[in-house]
């Protein structure tokens, strides 16, 4: 795979003070929220300079989350593909089973610093909801999670877990009853509760400073991967692959690699059932720049700027927008964005289950599928590192339901 054409113009030194990644990002929210976002940005800046904050975060990531997560050589999967080596960054082995907890622990610590006692969150796949409920239980914070009714149906095990963890799950019945509507509802809650409540946004989306904060907390994935690659095979991988919903696991995996311009970065969006509008959730592939949820970024929208309905079998990728830094990486050419259909993701799920004994999340299966394709086209001396963002237990029932529809 060739190195991206304009990789030089891509800076790791983003966003600027206004939250801009190139022309993307910013803050398109009601005035009611602006002061809270300013305070959050200031608190985060202070925390970053504070060694004790960093020490507390590191301690929790190590002893509570279970980091560092392993970098695992998928030998049989590699043999099956017959090309480059496939290495899995095992975020599925974190406490709560996905990368989401890297962010929620960090933001829960910020919540405490700001003296707030109540937390709200949105969730799609339920992984961010569970990770938020977990962090809140750990720190003794009140927790309300907004979740679309369709996602409550298809990710039922996570709904139950959130309740066991003491969170209140509020079903969202507006719009497409998925992640996008859950974010709307969480924002509306925050409009009234902003003085006492922190909104732990679960991906690199939303108004500044969220895309930056979430990227930074997730960057532990890429930093560890770089270190582990150097320990295991004394160089960096040729290609790094991650799935992109809002884009947090991908941003966390990619960001530390951005300055290593000889490493190709590949983001995989949900290709759903096909490339017609409404059949996929691939704004970077098929969308255009616009405003959604407080940020200027690629989005699936109609000619009036109304957000379009999207589709993915995977609740965590079923979102019409994407984080602004991904739009920036797309426009600078630093990252290649592509998409993977429901069907190919399902096949990758099966392959990883049968060949490696790992049930990946449906979200992560999109990255696995693309990594298998890339590996099979490259020589055996190359290495492809994939972010295995979460485990698939939550999806078992939905997969049973979908199997006949999707796999051939």
């Amino acid at each position: 795979m060739p190195t991206a054409p304009h990789a030089d113009s891509c800076s790791a030194n983003v966003p600027d003070a206004a939250g801009r990644f190139g022309k993307f990002g910013g803050r398109f929210v009601p005035e009611t929220l602006v002061h809270a976002l300013d305070l959050l940005a200031a608190e985060y800046d202070a925390a970053r300079q504070d060694a004790s904050f960093q020490a507390e975060l590191d301690e929790l990531l190590k002893n509570y989350v279970g980091r560092a997560s392993p970098l695992y050589f998928a030998k049989r999967l590699t043999e099956h593909c017959g090309g480059a080596e496939i290495w899995l960054k095992r975020e599925d082995l974190n406490h709560t089973g996905a990368h989401k907890i890297n962010n929620t622990i960090g933001q829960a610590l910020l919540t405490l610093r700001m003296g707030k006692k109540r937390v709200i969150a949105e969730t799609g796949a339920g992984q961010h909801g569970v990770a938020t409920a977990t962090a809140c239980a750990h720190f003794g914070l009140d927790c309300v999670v907004y979740m679309g009714e369709e996602d409550i149906r298809r990710q039922a095990p996570n709904v139950f877990s959130m309740k066991l963890l003491g969170a209140e799950v509020r079903p969202v019945t507006s719009g497409s009853r998925t992640l996008r509507d859950a974010i709307n509802e969480a924002m509306r809650d925050w409009m009234s509760s902003v003085e006492s409540t922190h909104y732990i946004l679960g991906s690199v989306v939303g108004p500044h400073p969220f895309p930056r904060i979430v990227r930074d907390f997730q960057s532990v994935i890429g930093r560890e991967t770089i270190q582990q690659c150097r320990e295991r095979f004394q160089c960096l991988p040729e290609v790094v692959v991650a799935c992109v919903g809002g884009g947090s696991n991908a941003a966390g995996m990619f960001y530390p690699f951005v300055e290593h311009s000889d490493v190709a970065l590949v983001g995989v969006e949900a290709g759903g059932r096909g490339n017609q509008p409404g059949d996929h959730a691939s704004p970077l592939t098929y969308g255009s720049p616009g405003v959604l949820h407080g940020s200027f970024s690629y989005v699936m929208q109609d000619e009036d700027g109304q957000t379009c309905d999207v589709h993915s079998m995977s609740a965590g990728l079923d979102y019409p927008g994407v984080g602004p830094e991904h739009s920036y990486w797309k426009e600078t050419g630093r990252v290649d964005y592509t998409s993977c259909t429901d069907k190919d993701a399902m096949n990758a799920f099966d392959a990883l289950a049968r060949l490696e004994g790992i049930l990946p999340a449906l979200e992560s299966s999109h990255a696995i599928a693309k990594a298998m394709e890339i590996a099979s086209q490259r020589s055996s001396s190359d290495r492809v590192a994939v972010c295995l963002s979460g485990r698939g237990d939550k999806d078992a029932a939905e997969i049973a339901r979908l199997k006949n529809d999707i796999t051939t």
Binding site: A18, G26, R27, F28, V29, P30, E31, T32, L33, V34, H35, A36, S174, G175, R180, N184, M187, R188, M191, S192, V194, E195, G290, V291, L292, H293, G294, F296, Q301, E303, D304, G305, Q306, T307
Partner: protein, 266 residues
């Protein structure tokens, strides 16, 4: 000078206050929107705010959200809304402003959107998701066309920031009564009078209060400290009755309701 500037000069000279109803465009269709606007102006509304339906309105409560959803489900398009408003403006004596998400303005192009408002005789826009930091390009476009870009100040806005907003807003300042989303409220915050009073001393711009206002008592209490009052959900909720009742009686009901608020304004 925009039509809104002229309106407030006149009102201030006459020592009167503005009542500004909000209606959702296209709920259930544009004919009804046009009829309601004409009725409300005939009853004495000084200005009308027209909500452009948007798919993801985070500042709106259930009543306005639902009206946007109904309108969008009918396939409402911006071009058709502006065309209808363009037919209404020559027939009424009060200025119209659009309440519109930046997502929609950006998609159409800032200049194109502003040009269309001008062509249709619409006086300006309120963009609820465009804070002052992101507003300079649109403010410039509006200024060049004598359109008002009405900006919002809220209970969570610090005073120094409020001053900055007064400098770039035009037409009037929209003071949001509560930290929260649109929707009728029985109680309004006790600090409201004082906050609006302070703001009005800082700026020559008219200050209008919106969000939560629904009862004649609210109007009586707030009118003395403000230049105008904005009423949204209480009207949109009554307009929604058209689904169960007929147009003429819904129009009458909405008109009578606004008349009770206008009485309280005197």
């Amino acid at each position: 000078m925009s039509a809104i500037d002229q309106l407030f000069i006149k009102l201030r000279n006459e020592n009167r206050k503005a009542l500004m109803p909000f209606v959702t465009a296209g709920d259930p269709d544009l004919d009804f929107t046009a009829a309601v606007i004409k009725e409300l102006v005939a009853r004495g509304a000084s200005m009308c705010e027209v909500g452009i339906p948007y798919s993801d309105p985070i500042a709106d409560g259930p009543v306005i959200q639902a009206s946007y959803t109904r309108a969008l489900d009918q396939g409402i398009k911006l071009a058709a809304i502006l065309e209808t408003l363009g037919k209404v403006t020559p027939q009424i004596s009060a200025p119209l402003v659009t309440m519109v998400s930046y997502a929609i303005i950006y998609r159409h192009g800032l200049e194109k959107y502003a040009d269309q408002l001008n062509q249709r005789g619409i006086a300006g826009m309120i963009v609820p998701d465009l804070p002052v930091e992101e507003s300079p390009s649109l403010a410039k476009v509006c200024k060049a066309r004598d359109l008002s870009l009405i900006q919002l100040v809220t209970p969570t806005t610090p005073k120094d920031r409020a001053l900055k907003i007064t400098e770039t807003s035009s037409g009037f300042l929209y003071y949001v009564s509560v930290a929260g989303i649109t929707g009728e409220r029985t109680e309004l915050p006790p600090e409201l009078l004082e906050r609006v009073g302070w703001l009005r001393e800082q700026t020559p711009l008219p200050v209008c209060i919106g969000f939560g206002i629904s009862q004649p008592e609210h109007v009586k209490r707030l009118a003395p400290v403000a230049d105008g009052l904005i009423v949204g959900s209480a009207i949109v909720r009554r307009m929604a009755n058209v689904a169960k009742s007929d147009r003429a009686s819904t129009l009458q009901e909405v008109g009578d309701y606004v008349a009770t608020l206008l009485e309280a304004l005197e």
